[in-house]
Symmetry: C2
DNA sequence: GATGCGGTCTGTAGCCACTACAGAAGCAAG
DNA sequence: CTTGCTTCTGTAGTGGCTACAGACCGCATC
């Protein structure tokens, strides 16, 4: 196992190990054009350089932060054209933050509803369950049974 | 527009209006066997009965509570076989609650990270952005840049 | 009974962001 | 030269829908 601290190029597996991005996913990123087509060895295997490693890290970190591929594409385009401003990037981040907060809010409501349902349940072994009764509540005339 | 309070059967559009489930989705539920094949009119249009309306409401409510189709299938199978116990249902609910709480936890971490990044950003119009710097942080030797 | 119009039909393909193969070929060590 | 791991391309599948196309149904009106 060689060292790769100062390599001419990284094979795809090394990229995967270093970034934690699945090999198939790296190729997928190339297909959808957020990773560039790398050099190839004589035999046709991909060889990445350090910039590409950094780019992949960027994508991975952004994905972990929940940015969509399209948001990442937008960020990368700004970077690539070198004509972004910090304000633009901030805006994209704040927008994403808002959507994360929305998701949290929604999940909290779910949590509450589930807790409420579970609390009413005796957990007994009789086939008579308030949870199912709640779920079966007819939502006639399009009144939602749950707060949305 | 007729009343449908006491109908022989509901056409699919009426089911959709009453439950808030998209028509295409209702047909999809039939295809994946969580809704039964309903009666048909002479001409071949679907006609649902009241039980089926209740079942669809059940599915809709459960989906809104974040249950996966497979979890719903499990619930419905218990109901259909009439051999469930309240304890089983409770267990399924608690399991789902745990996964909702996991998701909330994860999103909170994201939220914090995003807030931290955004706070360091001057929002200026210079192309020199601490957010991008954070995202570009190389994650060499598979140390994750973010807590997982 | 013809017409019109909205509802419904089937079947297929697309969405997101991957993931999972199959079957062939590259590459490095011994 | 062989062995055994890595990588290659291409295609199909995942979940949970959604979006068509192009045809047919059903009901009201004239």
């Amino acid at each position: 196992m060689s060292d790769f601290t100062n390599p001419r190029g990284y094979p795809i597996g090394e990229m995967s190990k270093r970034t934690g991005v699945n090999i198939e996913t790296i190729r997928y990123y190339e297909r959808i054009n957020i990773m560039p087509k790398p050099d190839r060895t004589a035999g046709g295997n991909r060889q990445y350089n350090h910039d590409q490693l950094k780019r992949l890290s960027f994508i991975k970190t952004s994905r972990e932060l929940g940015f969509s591929i399209d948001e990442i594409r937008a960020l990368l385009e700004m970077v690539d054209r070198e004509d972004f401003t910090c304000g633009e990037v901030h805006g994209l981040t704040i927008g994403h933050l808002a959507s994360v907060r929305e998701k949290i809010k929604g999940l909290r409501k779910l949590e509450k509803a589930l807790v409420g349902m579970a609390a009413e349940c005796s957990q007994g072994n009789v086939p008579d369950c308030p949870i199912l009764e709640t779920l079966f509540q007819a939502r006639t005339r399009s009144k939602p049974a749950l707060p949305t």
